[in-house]
Every structure is written in C-alpha cells, then in structure tokens.
C-alpha cells in the first residue's frame, strides 16, 4: 500500500534580491517579511513561548502552523501513533555560535541555560512535538542535502509496520539567518484526505524545488 503526502509547507527565501520569504502550502502561496513579530501576527499564533525559542525552532513552529492550518489533522489518531522525522544540514550551528559567545571570554564567562538547551539539532523537533502533542516515533537526521530517499524509506517502514499511522516529515535548515524548510504531513492511503500526492523521494524533490 502506498503512503501519501496529504499536506505540505515550503518556506524559502523569495529570490536573490528579495529578503522576504516565499511560503507555499496546498492552499496558500504568499510572500511575507522575514520578521518573527510580523509573521507571528500574520499567522495569528497565540503561543508566547515562541519568542523564547531559537530561530531554527521558530521557523519549524511557523512551518508546522502552516501545515496544520485549520485542519483536524489528527483525526482519530492517538498522540502516540503520530511520528516525526526531521532532517537538516547544520544542526543547531547558528545557536551553537550564540552559546559559544557566552563562554569564550574567560572574564565574561556566563553560559546561558536558555540558549544551551537549543544547542542540539533535534530541539526544533521537540518544540513541534510539544506544541502539537506528537508522541510517537521520532528521528533526527543530519545530511548535507535533503535526504529525500532516506526520509521516504525510514518513514514508510514505520507506517508499513504499523508503528505509527501518520507522520510529520521534512527538512528544517537555517543558515546565515535564511530558512530553508519543507514539512510534509504523511499518512497511509486509506486515511481520509482530499488532495493526495504519493509519498516518494521524487515527489519530495518536486515539492522542495
């Protein structure tokens, strides 16, 4: 049985000369300013914790909001039947540099626990899990480029073995302040959905383009 991508959210820089972000989902196509305060307002997020997060986590949370917008996306799935598999190239490197600034000067040694907690690749995934109560299988892969084949194989195995019923899958990368995100909501074919795309490496590459 094939698995399907029932929704997606793609976030990238609009163009070389445009600092805005290009956001695309099944139903939305828009360009917005790359400014967290205005995005927060624009997507009507009511989650004050958002502003305590590092930038990588903020982009992950924003993408998840677009992905699940106005959807009863869980259906009758239990929280433990929802999996999440995220990947990126840089891990938490941007935040690692921030934390490093707090410890590299011996006179001004003041490591911040609030920053340190974000110096792990998978924290963006943890934030999405907390916000959306995702409690099933979770995995974080580091890869120089979008590992479309690995994501497809790994998540398909979890779905086919009935370890999970649905999954949030994708790529959440941040480099020099520029996000590059593709999140997908993946389900088994027999789950009720309106629009469908096959969950395959080729399809992931098409959505990422």
């Amino acid at each position: 049985m094939t698995n399907i991508i029932s929704r997606f959210c793609r976030i990238k820089k609009a163009s070389t000369n445009d600092l805005r972000l290009d956001i695309r989902t099944n139903t939305v196509e828009e360009q917005i300013d790359n400014n967290f305060a205005s995005i927060y307002k624009h997507i009507e997020l009511d989650y004050p914790k958002f502003f305590k997060m590092d930038d990588l986590s903020k982009y992950g949370i924003i993408a998840a909001e677009y992905l699940f917008e106005n959807q009863d996306w869980k259906g009758n799935c239990l929280d433990t039947e929802i999996g999440i598999v995220i990947s990126n190239a840089s891990g938490s490197l941007e935040t690692d540099l921030e934390f490093h600034k707090t410890i590299n000067n011996k006179e001004r040694f003041f490591p911040s626990p609030a920053i340190f907690v974000y110096t792990l690749s998978n924290i963006v995934m943890g934030e999405i899990c907390i916000k959306h109560k995702i409690k099933g299988e979770n995995m974080f892969l580091l890869s120089e480029t979008l590992p479309s084949e690995q994501l497809t194989n790994y998540v398909s195995d979890l779905l086919d073995a009935d370890k999970i019923r649905v999954a949030v899958v994708g790529w959440v990368e941040l480099r020099n302040g520029i996000p590059d995100v593709l999140l997908m909501y993946v389900a088994k074919q027999n789950t009720l959905v309106e629009q469908t795309m096959e969950f395959s490496a080729e399809q992931i590459e098409l959505l990422y383009r």
Binding site: H100, T102, N104, F109, S112, V117, N122, K135, N138, M139
Partner: protein
Amino acid sequence: MKKNVYILSDSVITPLGSTTQENLQQIYAGVTAIKQYSNEQFGTYYTSRFDPESSVLSGKEGSKFTKIERLFIASIEQALASLSIRTDQADVLFVFASTKGNIDQLENSAFDFNRLRIGVMANYITNYFNNTNRPIVVSNACISGVQAIEYACKELQRDTYKYIIVTGADVASDFVLSGFHSFQAMSPFVCKPFDKDRAGVSIGEGCGTIILTTEKPDKEAIEILAVTSSNDANHLSGPSRTGDGLSNAILAAMKEADVQSDQIDIISAHGTATMYNDEMESLAFQTAEITQASIYSVKGNIGHTLGAAGIIETIYLAHSLQDNNSIPSLGFNEQGTSVSLNISTKPSKDKELITGLKTASGFGGGNAVLILKKKR
C-alpha cells in the same frame, strides 16, 4: 518477513579502557574513569576524559583528524579487525551518532567551519575507509546512539546493504561542560545513578561501534529483537514526571520483540543520576511491569557519553548477556526512587541472562528502547 539482525562485532573506546574487553573488566570490577578536575570558570567538577597523551588518540593519521574523528577511526578499525569486510564495497553502510561532533573545534579559528556540520565530519570518516555510500548521521540528543541502531536495523530489512557499521562518539568539550554547568545539572561528586543522594550527571566521552548484519553468525550471537522511540511532548530539558513517554516506548518494544515483561532479565538503564531522570525511569519500569529485572546504569563508570551512550551501553549489555554476568551499578547504595528497583550491586552469574533491555532519554523529549536476545 522480518529478518533477524545480529551483532557481528563491536568496539568500545573510553577513558576506562581502549577495547571492549578492557572496558568490561573495569565495569565488572566496579572501577570508574570519572575524575575530579577544576577550572577557574566553574570550579571543581567531575568528568570522564581521555588523557591528552592517550595512545588511542595519536594514531598514524593523527594530525589530519580531530579528536572525535580519531576516536571514530580507531573504534571502527577495532570493530573491523576480526572480520574480512571490505569497507570500499557498496554493500557496506556507515551510520553515525553524535550530538555535537567537532564542537570542541569551535574555539579553533583556523578550523574549517563547514566541518562543524556533523554530516561533513562523517564524510571525512567514510572517505578514510574508502566508502562511497552517503553516510547516515543521527543526531537526536542523548537517544542518538540507540536510534542509530534503530535506523540500521530498518535499513538492513531492505536488503540494500549486507553490513552496517554503526558508530557513535562525543567528546567532553568545554562547550558541553559549560552548558550542563549552567543548568546546575553537574554532580558535585562522581555521579550516583539511582542512589538516594544522587545530585546530577558526570559528563563522559568515548566511542562505541557495532557492526550489524542479517546473517546469523555461527557461534552464539546477540540478536537485536526490537528498537523503538517515543517523545514526551512535555518539556525540552526535563523528562516527563510520569514516565509515560518512556513506558510507551518500552511497551512498544516488548510488543515488537514479542517478549513478556517477566522475560526481561536485565535492564541497562539510562540512569543519568539526575533526580528527575532516575525517578522518571523507575516509574516507567513500574508501568511496564519490568521492575523484577536486574537494573543498572554505567554512568558511574564512564559518565554520560551523550550521543555515544546508546551504542557503548548496548555493547556492554550484549557482553553481559554473553558472559551471563550482571553488571554492577556503580555509585548506588540506597534506594532513591519512589518505585523500589532491583538495582544490581555486584557481578552475579547466578541467573541465566537471555533477554536484555536498554533505555535512553534525552533533551527534546525523546526516549528510545532496544531489546537484545542471546541466540544459541
């Protein structure tokens, strides 16, 4: 039909010992590699760290590689030594586990910044072994090691690879030590997992490598019956108070392995020696009804080796089953969790050990569980 996955060979390199056997001797003897250090920024602290002059870190290729890369290379070479596997073949895949990779090089302004990306670091290692397959890198905090094994087990089911080399390492960098210090999570003495007086973690460093295959070795072998993960979806830096995330993963792993709770003979716990972690684990073991098993943590011997922990500790557990010898939980004196646990305090060959369970939990809410079985 699901194929069985077996451990073909292994290697552990820690400050406790530079081979698996050296490590095990010290583990059974109740020796710790954790020592007291001090530094002007955060005073006295305890960690398990390699002697900078250590021979394991000064291989012939030493200057071309960083500390963690040398650890990976040394450990992988050790694991390969008894086998005739050619790593330049397409049927060999490398799966890495690390939380921070080359993070200790952040202070070195001459270091290639790109190599701080763990995926890039992994390429340096696979190039050394002339392997052209794209390496897999798992970085899911302290469950990375167990999950690298999880990834490898699934990949082996697809028959694309004959051998998967799963390797995990992290180093006790100032970066990580400062962070745990800022969390006030570092123990003011050698950490005491599950003890009443436990007061935090001791950070450690090291590398563990296991080579997995679906072909049953001729001799007695250790089979990986199941690996599962879950997320607490509760808090980034603290475990769930109820242990429900971990117990869900344990129950799912037992179901996948088709093992009943009374069949679990021994448990290698995560046992970081923080108040919350050990308490949470005891609750999860109660929920999963596996408190009859002999339970231990090796964090008192080698500290918390972060991304390497799941692999190193799985190797210890596998040998404990093969040796039919239960590992003592160093640092434990008195019950310190609300659920009374059957903590192992001395090596014992009294009971046949067949099935072992390994747990791990980490920042970001992840839990992972693995079940091993001795097959004759």
